[in-house]
């Protein structure tokens, strides 16, 4: 026993001594001699699989290894050609678009990236763009043509964005030939959608019954396919993976290899936000997207003098959504609530760098609304100030009464509201606390229930929900900045929380079944029906086909309609950002600001050069384009 103990102690001491020695050697390196970019990500720890659509979370490979013909930057809609040689060329009649592929574009296994690969990608993956296409064809080895459905041709601007949204460099025809050919065969055998139909389908085809089953089985087989290499074209190759780290090394065959300065991407994982902040503060990672709570942000910057933080607009607003299923939310009460809150105070508590909004929920964030609405339409949007006297007046008009500092409902019961939110979002949870304290001091009892996102979303969306209201995104666009994105998101998420009326699931028009059934004032436009109304769902999936003048008219109808429906309150347009290691990485934008203050508080205005440059730094928004294009370089 004694011997064992002595040996165990000696071994432990040995490890400590060696570790101390090794640890001391490793410290003191400040610049980036090994030309590495250290980031944090999450991935499937049992193995990332061998392709983009295997169903496994491929984490950093999605950012640094899987490319498309183009890369668009979310929030600015800048499009950068990647595998494509120049921008798409549209025919005069608008019915076809031709894309040239870079001569040097190739797969990581050395095979040429060709038009047939793009063809295979689309027949296997029916993405949004395929709903607008009749076919994708190979013109020659390095040229691909998109033929648009004449019944729904998107504008040229939207065509570019739809193509840029996809990761065509993820399906190598020679690897997935059997599935791509089968998919093409099934699509070809499927029935055409008649011109007068409201149905949608990839390549204007409608696969049903046996064909649909075949198509699904083929997709499942494609998903389960195990290639011997990770199928991609991107600038970094998978070198080694463990449960906590991934090492990517530079792909020397990449079309832009000579301009890419980094030799390796070192990826760490962590599910714990505090651990991630610890890695940032201790100079162990070079980049993190997002914005930390203000105290944490300052603490990270104080601890790590190499770190700077840039800010950028987020195409989304955070606010309060009313559960209109509850009888308490009469028109007057909802209007009163617009005046109760000091939105500046809420914004400061939740995200002091954000932009305070004085609008109701209107379908998109303020900066997006300014872009997409007509000037007159935007000026017509209702704005609300912080005016609790006005709120009291409106509540009394609604039949509420106040006694002993407490509000009572028209039926004489004390007003008590349950507020739900996502505890994992620091901005939302902070805003919820201010909402609660404001309501309590105003005389309305408020109970907060904070849960994880999934639990909150399920509870908030169900009939007879516990929640009377929720602090959440009121407006959010997860894809490119075209307005459809935020309306689709509203339709799928926020409308469920607000319990906006819907068409029944068995509605005769299959395209409208289960969709929002709410009519806006048509403002006398050509979009209005015989009753002068526009239903929310009528144009939801058709917006891409309207030109810039028409779309503004339509967005005026939608945004004003939603604002007047008063389903919620916008508190602020979110601002996000990027932490970047300015000592190890060169060409970080806004140098004139971060040399003065590493916590750059300026949010670049929409359309300015800084606006585009800062948005590119966000690896999620730009999918690593800033590294691929050689803008970021190691400070070796």
């Amino acid at each position: 026993m004694r011997k064992t103990f002595v040996i165990a102690t000696a071994l432990v001491l040995l490890v400590v001594v060696i570790a101390c020695f090794t640890g001391c050697i490793e410290t003191g390196q400040s610049l980036n001699a090994e030309k590495s970019f250290r980031v944090i990500s999450s991935w499937e720890k049992s193995g990332v699989g061998s392709h983009f659509n295997s169903g496994k979370n491929i984490g950093p490979l999605a950012t640094f290894s899987v490319e498309g013909l183009y890369q668009y930057i979310r929030s600015t809609d800048e499009i950068i050609p990647m595998l494509a040689d120049g921008m798409p060329v549209h025919s005069d009649d608008g019915l076809s678009t031709t894309v040239k592929i870079k001569e040097k574009a190739c797969w990581q296994n050395g095979d040429d990236f060709v038009a047939k690969d793009v063809w295979a990608y689309y027949y296997l993956n029916h993405t949004t763009v395929t709903n607008y296409l009749l076919s994708v064809e190979e013109v020659d080895n390095k040229t691909v043509r998109f033929n648009w459905n004449p019944n729904r041709v998107p504008t040229n601007e939207v065509k570019d964005l739809l193509i840029a949204q996809d990761r065509q460099g993820s399906v190598c025809y020679t690897e997935f030939r059997v599935y791509a050919d089968t998919a093409y065969d099934i699509v070809s055998r499927s029935a055409d959608i008649p011109d007068d139909s409201t149905n949608w389908g990839a390549f204007n085809k409608f696969s049903t019954g046996e064909l649909l089953s075949e198509l699904n089985a083929n997709f499942a087989a494609y998903r389960a396919h195990n290639a011997t290499w990770f199928v991609c074209t991107g600038p970094f190759k998978l070198k080694r993976e463990s449960a906590t780290q991934i090492l990517l090394e530079k792909n020397e065959l990449h079309w832009n290899a000579e301009n890419i300065g980094f030799d390796r991407i070192e990826v760490y994982s962590s599910s714990d936000q505090n651990q991630i902040y610890g890695l940032l503060a201790n100079d162990q990672i070079d980049y993190l997207d997002g914005l930390a709570p203000i105290d944490t942000l300052n603490s990270i910057l104080d601890s790590n003098p190499n770190m700077a933080h840039l800010k950028m607009y987020d195409p989304g607003s955070i606010g309060l959504i009313f559960n209109t299923e509850k009888v308490v939310w009469s028109d007057k009460v909802r209007e009163a609530f617009q005046y109760i809150f000091d939105r500046e105070q809420i914004k400061n508590a939740a995200n002091p760098y954000a932009i305070t909004s004085y609008y109701p929920l209107m379908g998109m964030a303020e900066s997006e609304a300014k872009t997409w609405m007509t000037e007159e339409g935007f000026n017509e949007l209702p704005k609300y100030s912080y005016n609790q006297a006005k709120a009291e007046e409106l509540l009394k008009e609604a039949g509420w009464s106040k006694s002993g500092g407490k509000w009572y409902l028209p039926d004489g019961k004390e007003a008590e509201l349950t507020l739900g939110t996502d505890k994992g979002h620091p901005g939302m949870s902070a805003a919820a606390i201010v909402v609660q304290s404001t309501l309590e001091s105003f005389g309305i009892k408020c109970v907060i229930k904070m849960t994880d996102h999934n639990s909150w979303a399920s509870a908030a969306s169900m009939d007879n929900s516990t929640y009377d209201m929720s602090v959440y995104w009121t407006d959010l666009n997860m894809s490119f900045s075209y307005p459809t994105g935020s309306y689709i998101h509203f339709n799928s998420m926020m409308a469920n929380v607000a319990h906006v009326p819907r068409f029944p699931d068995n509605y005769s028009n299959a395209q409208l079944a289960g969709q929002i059934n709410y009519e806006f004032d048509g403002r006398g436009s050509k979009f209005a029906d015989a009753n002068g109304k526009v239903n929310f769902s009528t144009y939801l999936n058709n917006m891409y086909v309207y030109d810039s003048t028409e779309i503004k008219e339509l967005i005026d109808i939608y945004n004003l309609g939603m604002a007047n429906a008063n389903w919620g309150i916008q508190f602020y347009q979110n601002v996000t950002g990027s932490f970047i290691n300015i000592a190890r990485i060169k060409n970080v934008p806004m140098q004139e600001y971060w040399t003065q203050n590493r916590n750059v508080e300026v949010v670049p205005e929409v359309g300015t050069e800084d606006f585009y440059e800062v948005a590119r730094t966000n690896l999620i928004y730009g999918n690593g384009a800033i590294v691929t294009m050689g803008i970021y370089q190691p400070n070796a």
Binding site: T4, A19, E44, G49, H126, R223, S242, S269, S492
Partner: protein, 359 residues
């Protein structure tokens, strides 16, 4: 001829009777064990049912959450992400819960603990195979060290009651017992990883610079990464063993054979080694076995602090993903291990001490 037939029949009958008696005798002799085995099987069946249904009580819509995650990571609209999620998920939300249950139980009989919702290649069996060794490595090393250290300190305290060592060790026990293990983990990371930078803050080995395999660099790297989690466990666990050993040792010190050994003029070292420790440690061995069984579940909190890829961290990640089939598989495995080890411990105990069987 007839007589021979009768004799043969009698012989067969006699053999069968003997075999039957032997079986009955065997069953009767070990009836204590069979009873325990029956209870274990019932417990396992009950835990299987409870795990299956409790997991499904977790609120949330898997498809929607997966769609949101796809929309966010791929920058695609929610409707496209939702369609993609439906195609990618290995899950039919329309399937009845009872059908799922029978499929699950059928899988258990085939040794398949569960297939992930996200990909058919990810199974509970695979995750246990990949993660359990890491959990067992750090937790069994720390259990062993804390046990050895605790028993040594405990016997020292018993022998030097009211001395300086007793006071010092008591103070340590108070401190270690009042600090939660995760806080100890955070403190160690802060001091050794972030401030002094002598140990890595997270992971099980450095995949950037060492290749897994039978080489010194990898072996050393694994030890270096295990040091802080093991130290945190040891710091917290040692106190409990020390107290248990102290109590047990004090009891043994009062025994006649210790007085007799002293009277025979044996040295204190010999008495401690041969009489005190051996006898005082006996009751602790049972606790050690039970503690070992508990290791199979890992420690999600500690593994999370050190981002150590053990079974506990994996389980908490899968719960977050609502990967039902994998979660129930891992939980079934860990509960099976606890039940099995308890069964073995009970059986061994009954063999050592026949009074247990009689009771």
């Amino acid at each position: 001829m007839e007589k021979e037939n009768i004799t043969a029949k009698d012989r067969i009958k006699s053999v069968l009777t003997k075999v039957w008696k032997a079986i009955v005798g065997f069953l009767y002799k070990y009836r204590y064990f069979w009873k325990k085995l029956g209870i274990a099987v019932l417990t396992l069946a009950f835990s299987t049912i409870v795990i299956f249904f409790i997991i499904r009580l977790i609120p949330g819509d898997i498809v929607r959450e997966y769609a949101l995650s796809l929309a966010s990571s791929r920058n695609i609209p929610y409707d496209e992400a939702y369609r993609l999620a439906v195609s990618l998920l290995n899950y039919d939300p329309e399937e009845s819960i009872f059908l799922q249950f029978f499929r699950y139980v059928g899988g258990l009989f085939r040794g398949e603990l569960g297939v992930s919702l996200y990909n058919e290649d990810i199974t509970a069996n695979l995750l246990i195979k990949q993660r359990l060794p890491w959990t067992l490595f750090i937790s069994s090393v720390s259990l062993l060290i804390s046990f050895l250290l605790g028993t040594w300190l405990g016997s020292l305290m018993a022998r030097k009651r009211n001395g300086a060592a007793d006071t010092a060790i008591s103070s340590y026990i108070v401190v270690s017992g009042s600090i939660p293990d995760y806080l100890m983990g955070l403190l160690l990371v802060l001091i050794f990883a972030y401030t002094w930078k002598i140990f890595p803050s997270q992971g099980n080995y450095d995949a950037f610079y060492s290749e897994p395999g039978w080489n010194f660099k990898f072996f050393y790297d694994v030890l270096r990464h295990a040091f802080l989690p093991v130290a945190a466990y040891v710091f917290v666990q040692t106190g409990t063993w020390t107290l248990m050993m102290r109590g047990s040792s004090i009891g043994v010190l009062g025994e006649d054979y210790i007085s007799a050994a002293k009277a025979r003029g044996l040295s204190e070292r010999t008495i401690t080694r041969k009489y005190l420790k051996r006898n005082a440690m006996l009751p602790l061995v049972t606790s050690l076995a039970v503690s070992f069984a508990a290791l199979f579940g890992g420690s999600p909190l500690m593994e999370s602090i050190f981002n150590y890829p053990g079974i506990g961290l994996e389980l908490s990640a899968r719960i977050g993903l609502k990967d039902y089939f994998v979660v129930q598989g891992i939980m079934f495995f860990t509960s099976s291990m606890v039940i099995l080890v308890n069964l073995i411990t009970d059986s061994i105990y009954s063999l050592i001490d026949p009074r247990v069987r009689k009771e």
